[in-house]
Every structure is written in structure tokens, then in C-alpha cells.
């Protein structure tokens, strides 16, 4: 009996002990993360981004190495958030554990700026930084309602038409200049279920410019308005190409995970992708012979999308001066030159763009040309909700379960109800 009692006490103390030691080690960890200086008297700045592909990570590491060489008193702690980036960033900001400097997509920017968790950067800017060097539409994407700048774009991407040279030659098809030509070409290039003429991502981020091409608006007054008959009319051809012509497929239907993969595997003769596809295709499918052209025109008008990502600073950054040093290097002429040297992203600074000369590269010229007329993927604080509802229900029309008009009408109602509930 006595022995049993002793054993119980021993077990309990063991459990309590381990629980306590668990706590204390947890505290230590949190403590060391909070400290901004380490033993060598160096200042530590945390930087977070999504990883991207290995080429992208190598380039960023190269840029950071250069920064640490020129700024010996600052140490950069780079953290990769590989999945659900915005969810993680938001949760960490709420918990007061946000990184000092991080990536922010233009599309998410208005909502995050509005919450007031970002540091306005105007007061840090010096003449050397040369703010007028940035492409204006890209810089404007990170301006708050108060007119202050909350982030500097690290680069941008636009969409262009990628075509498989061999397939076009075999079918005797010219590179399409208009959407009507593209539709005809897609029909000729399709070979049953093995090769589709055109690969499309049924997502708002990729179709936004097309949706607005007939004069309708996807977003009006920060609310969804994509059930507009003009938007439906503009998007109907995509659905028809899938259901009637059977010349178009989404990557999932052929077992690919992205448009560029579908294109690389030879399951689509044409896709509309961004400059990120070029290094991907060169590495994964080195034998593929392909060309690029500007996105086909609709009713004689040119249109494409531009996507941009900025570096922003956390308002609660421990050492804002050091954080600005890093941010201004990464978006400065020197840092941007290293970062954009491989053309993963195009330089958002005019001077860097001129120096790197991507407009003379035959594959990238159409992508650079798109920048002058592209629509920036951003529209108010509610675009994430609007996009989610659009993507969810557009698919049902794309697959032929109901008419496009019906699907978009319901998606718009759902989105606006959600927006109203949030107010």
C-alpha cells in the first residue's frame, strides 16, 4: 500500500516536472526570438516570404548574401512560409510574432494596409532611393487611402501567350493575334483528349482582364458585380471553348497541377502564363520548343494582367532602421538587379529594366510589352472574398453543370452577402 502511494507521488512529480520543464524551454525559445541583437552585437532582422521554386530561393539568398556583405552589422533571418502564406502572416501579426519585413501581394494589400499593422514608409525615403524610378501603377498598388506608401514592389509579372512551335507548325496554324483567331487555332490544334489546343486556368486572377474586356466591371464600390451581362458575355467564349469546341481544358482535367506544367507536358498547345513559366519550362522541359506572343486582342484592344509583390515593414518591427536598410536594399537598384537578373520577375524600376534589357530578349519581349496596358491584379479590400466565390462557382459553369449567367449570379450574391456580413 505504502509502496503504491510512493509510486503515485513519484509519478505525479515526474509529470509536473516535465510539464514545467516543457514550459520553461518554450519560454526560452520565445525569448531568443524576441531579442533583436545577438552575441556579436549584430542586429537581427527577420524576413519572411513564400519560398517559390529552387531558382527563386537561390536568387534571393544571393541578394541577401550581398546585403550582409555590404551591411556587416545586420544579420538577416530569412523564413520561408511555403503554404497558405497570408493566413500564417495574419496569425503571426495578431500574436505579435510577425516578421520585420515580408512579402505582400498587391491583391491582399488594401485590406492589410487598412488594419494599420504596416509601417508607412514615406519618412524613410531618401533622394538616393529615387522613388520616381518605380513604375507608377505598381507603386500605386501599395498606397493607402491616406496617400502614404506602405510597400515597394520587388518586381512584377504579366501574362503572355505561350505556344508550342512544333504543334503550330504541324497544324499549319499562325500565332493567333485575336481571340477569334485563338479559338479557331485551338480547334485545329486539339487532338481528342490527348492534346488540347488551349489550356486555361478557370480563376479570376487569370480571367479578370478578359471579364472586363466588354466594358463590364468585376468589382464596383468594393462589391462584386461580375454577374453583369457584359462580364458574362466576355467570359462565355471560355466556357464554350471547353464545352462546345472541346478544344480547351483546365490543368486538373489532364492531371497537371498548373498551366505551365500542362503546356510543358505537351497536353496543351497554347496557354496564357506569366514570366515565371519561362525558367520553369527551361528547367523542367529543356527540349520543349516554344515561343511567346502578346495576349490576343479582343475587339482590337490589348489587355493582360500584371501581378506585383512588395516588401512591407511590420509596424512592430524591433529595429525599424535596420529593417528599412534591408527593405531599401532589396527594392533598391542594386538589390533589384540581382533579384531580377534571371527574369523570374521583371524589374519594377525603370532604370534596372533598361539595364537588364529584357525587352530585347525574344521570349520576354511580349511580357515586357504587356506592362504598358496591363491591369494590376488588385481592387479594394474585398477582392479576396470576391475571388474565392467567383472561382468556386465559375467552375460549375465551366464544367457545364449550369449556365454561366446562373453560376455568376449566385456567386455574386454569395460574395456580397459575405461582404455585407463583415461590415
Amino acid at each position: 500500500m505504502k509502496g503504491k502511494k510512493l509510486a503515485t507521488i513519484a509519478m505525479t512529480s515526474l509529470l509536473v516536472g516535465s510539464a514545467l520543464s516543457g514550459c520553461s524551454s518554450g519560454n526560452e525559445k520565445a525569448g531568443s526570438g524576441k531579442e533583436s541583437t545577438n552575441n556579436n552585437g549584430k542586429v537581427e532582422v527577420t524576413l519572411a516570404g513564400w519560398g517559390g521554386n529552387p531558382t527563386e530561393q537561390k536568387l534571393l539568398q544571393q541578394t541577401l548574401d550581398e546585403f550582409e556583405k555590404t551591411h556587416p552589422n545586420i544579420k538577416v533571418k530569412y523564413e520561408v512560409i511555403s503554404d497558405q502564406y497570408m493566413d500564417v502572416i495574419k496569425t503571426r501579426l495578431v500574436g505579435g510574432e510577425g516578421p520585420d519585413v515580408f512579402y505582400l501581394d498587391a491583391f491582399e494589400a488594401p485590406a492589410l494596409i487598412e488594419t494599420g499593422v504596416l509601417e508607412p514608409l514615406n519618412s524613410y525615403v531618401t533622394n538616393d532611393f529615387d522613388i520616381n524610378d518605380f513604375e507608377k501603377p505598381l507603386l500605386d498598388a501599395f498606397k493607402g487611402k491616406d496617400g502614404k506608401i506602405y510597400g515597394f514592389p520587388k518586381g512584377y509579372s504579366t501574362l503572355a501567350l505561350f505556344y508550342n512551335k512544333k504543334m503550330l507548325d504541324e497544324a499549319g496554324v499562325e500565332v493567333p493575334q485575336t481571340w477569334d483567331e485563338l479559338r479557331e487555332a485551338a480547334k485545329k490544334l486539339t487532338k481528342g483528349k490527348d492534346v488540347y489546343g488551349f489550356g486555361v486556368m478557370p480563376e479570376l486572377a487569370r480571367l479578370y482582364y478578359l471579364a472586363e474586356s466588354k466594358g463590364g466591371k468585376v468589382v464596383t464600390d468594393n462589391k462584386a458585380s461580375f454577374a453583369d451581362s457584359k462580364v458574362v458575355e466576355a467570359l462565355q467564349p471560355i466556357v464554350d471553348m471547353h464545352l462546345k469546341d472541346r478544344s480547351t481544358a483546365e490543368p486538373k482535367e489532364v492531371g497537371a497541377s498548373s498551366g505551365s506544367e500542362m503546356f510543358g507536358q505537351g497536353k496543351a498547345a497554347m496557354v496564357i502564363e506569366g514570366n515565371w513559366a519561362i525558367p520553369f519550362l527551361d528547367e523542367t522541359f529543356p527540349n520543349l520548343e516554344y515561343g511567346t506572343a502578346e495576349v490576343p486582342t479582343l475587339d482590337g484592344k490589348k489587355a493582360t494582367m500584371a501581378y506585383t509583390v512588395a516588401y512591407v515593414m511590420n509596424k512592430d518591427a524591433k529595429n525599424k532602421e535596420a529593417a528599412w536598410e534591408l527593405l531599401s536594399f532589396l527594392t533598391g537598384k542594386e538589390g533589384m538587379k540581382i533579384w531580377t537578373s534571371k527574369g523570374l520577375e521583371l524589374p519594377s524600376r525603370k532604370s534596372v529594366a533598361a539595364e537588364l534589357g529584357f525587352d530585347k530578349d525574344p521570349l520576354r519581349a511580349p511580357i515586357v510589352a504587356g506592362a504598358s496596358y496591363a491591369t494590376v491584379w488588385q481592387n479594394g479590400t474585398n477582392l479576396p472574398i470576391i475571388m474565392n466565390n467567383f472561382n468556386n462557382q465559375f467552375v460549375s459553369a465551366f464544367l457545364g453543370d449550369r449556365s454561366l449567367k446562373e453560376a455568376l449570379k449566385e456567386a455574386q450574391e454569395t460574395a456580397n452577402k459575405e461582404i455585407k456580413g463583415n461590415e
Binding site: 509529470l15 483546365e250 468556386n392 462557382q393 467552375v395 456580413g421
Partner: protein, 295 residues
């Protein structure tokens, strides 16, 4: 005497205190906090604010189409998965208990899916469900139609159902196996004397004897299936698509809590309602099975 009783109680509480502390901090505390949150409009990012809004969050559910879809998807999922996995678990357990050769090995092999993390399982299944994946190849080989499992709203939820039945049935199988060992042989002997065949023995001896265990299995199954999240989250990359077909209540709660800014209160209200639904489903199950067991 009284002093002794006090001392004993004191010692008991002292020994209980670590557990009580952990329970209060990590279980009871969050439950109360959720109730608090569900009556407030909560803004966590930037200037943190809690604004009392009464039952607005609950009223909002009435007009929320996505909440209705999520509830319907979840109920469909529960109604199909719980009976299937229970029956499958029972059949698996009965065959393993029949004294086959090498049944220990089968037991281990059957149990493997349960040991694998659900996220890894989902990723593996997404490979197999791929348009050019294993499952479509097998279907085509035996002359059945193939499906776009991941992209077609009509089959996406069924794909998740099949996967989950396959992976959770073995877990309940082990529980059934343990219970099967407990059935006294004398019952079977008596049945044999009465001239019962194998099927009759199973139906009239095994199944009734396992009733308390079945009750436990169904309740655990109900709770587990109502909380479906990770599989549909990975399947749809967090969106609940295609066409909201894999949107479940917990996924919706996640979206409102972490994706949209400032809807933590509504998410809490949804979580509260989900808890009530599970409680009610469990209560109904108990009432129908009329088994006052120790579970």
C-alpha cells in the same frame, strides 16, 4: 475522523491539480472564450477590438448560403461515412477473428492506414485520384467510366468519403477485435447446439453482444466526421471548391477565423453551433440505441 477526510481530499486535489490546471487552461478556458467571442464582433489585426453585438452572429447564419452548403455537405458526409466505416470495421474484425492463417500479419497490415498521418494520406490519394492516376487506370481497365476526381464538383466529396472510410475503418476494427475476444465461447457453443449456422451465429450472438462497442464506435465516428477538416482543406487548397462541393463546417470556420479579417466572432458562433449539432446527434444516437452502457 473529519480531519482525516479533509486531509485525504486535500491530497487528492493536490494530485489532481496538474490535470485540472491543464484542463482549465486548454479545454474549459477556450470553450468559455468561444462563447464570449460568439456574441462579439472581433477585430484582432491592428487595433484589437471586441464589440458586443448580441445574437447578430447567429442571425447571420440564416442568410449565409455558404453555411447552408457546408452544413449540407457535412451531413451528407456523416450519413454515408459513419455507417460504412462501422460496418466495414465490424466485417474486418470478424474475419480477422475467425482464426485465419497469419491473421496477426493481416491485423498489422489493416491497421497501417490509421498510423499514417491524414495529411500524408490525403496527398497520396490526390496522386491516385489524379486524372492520369492509379484509380482512373484501374477503373478504365475494368471498363468503368473514369472521373475527374479532384476537379468535378459532383464527385469530389465522394472521393474524400471513400478515402476516409478506408483510413478510419481499421481504427474501429481494432476496438471491435478487442471486444470480440471478450465474447465467451459458451455462447457460440449454445448456438451451435441449437443448430445455428455461421451467419446466424454472427447475427444473433456477435452483433448483439457488441452493441455497447458499436454505440461507442458510432459516437466517435459521428464526432470525427462532423469535424472533417484536413482532408477537404488539402483537397481544395483551403477554398472548399470546386463549386463549394468540399466545403465543410469546420473548413468554413477556418476561413472565417483566419482568412477573412474581422470575422473571428462569426467563426466562433459557427463553432458553437457545430458543438450543439454534434451534441444533439450523439444524444439522438444514444436514444435510438437505448443502450445504457458505460461509454
Amino acid at each position: 475522523m473529519r480531519k482525516k477526510a479533509w486531509r485525504e481530499a486535500g491530497a487528492a486535489y493536490a494530485l489532481l491539480s496538474p490535470t485540472l490546471f491543464v484542463l482549465l487552461l486548454f479545454i474549459i478556458g477556450p470553450i468559455l472564450f468561444i462563447v464570449f467571442l460568439s456574441f462579439h464582433k472581433v477585430q484582432l489585426l491592428g487595433a484589437t477590438s471586441f464589440e458586443f453585438v448580441g445574437i447578430d452572429n447567429f442571425k447571420r447564419m440564416g442568410g449565409d448560403l455558404r453555411a447552408k452548403i457546408a452544413l449540407w455537405n457535412t451531413i451528407k458526409y456523416v450519413i454515408i461515412v459513419v455507417p460504412c466505416q462501422t460496418v466495414l470495421a465490424l466485417i474486418l474484425a470478424a474475419t480477422l477473428n475467425a482464426g485465419l492463417k497469419g491473421q496477426k500479419w493481416f491485423r498489422i497490415i489493416y491497421f497501417l492506414p490509421t498510423l499514417t498521418s491524414s495529411a500524408v494520406l490525403t496527398l497520396i490519394f490526390m496522386w491516385m485520384y489524379n486524372q492520369n492516376g492509379l484509380i482512373n487506370h484501374v477503373l478504365a481497365a475494368i471498363g468503368l467510366p473514369t472521373y475527374n476526381w479532384l476537379g468535378d464538383p459532383k464527385v469530389a466529396l465522394s472521393a474524400i468519403m471513400a478515402m476516409n472510410i478506408w483510413s478510419t475503418a481499421p481504427y474501429f476494427m481494432v476496438i471491435y477485435l478487442a471486444a470480440l475476444q471478450d465474447i465467451p465461447d459458451s455462447l457460440y457453443e449454445a448456438a451451435e447446439l441449437d443448430g445455428a449456422n455461421a451467419l446466424q451465429k454472427f447475427w444473433y450472438v456477435t452483433v448483439p453482444y457488441l452493441r455497447p462497442v458499436t454505440s461507442f464506435v458510432v459516437i466517435m465516428g459521428l464526432i470525427g466526421t462532423f469535424q472533417l477538416f484536413d482532408q477537404s482543406y488539402i483537397f481544395s487548397a483551403g477554398s472548399g471548391g470546386p463549386d463549394n462541393s468540399t466545403l465543410t463546417i469546420v473548413l468554413l470556420i477556418y476561413q472565417y477565423a483566419f482568412k477573412t479579417l474581422g470575422t473571428m466572432g462569426y467563426a466562433a458562433a459557427l463553432a458553437f453551433i457545430l458543438a450543439l449539432i454534434i451534441l444533439m446527434a450523439t444524444w439522438l444516437q444514444r436514444k435510438f440505441s437505448k443502450e445504457e452502457s458505460l461509454y
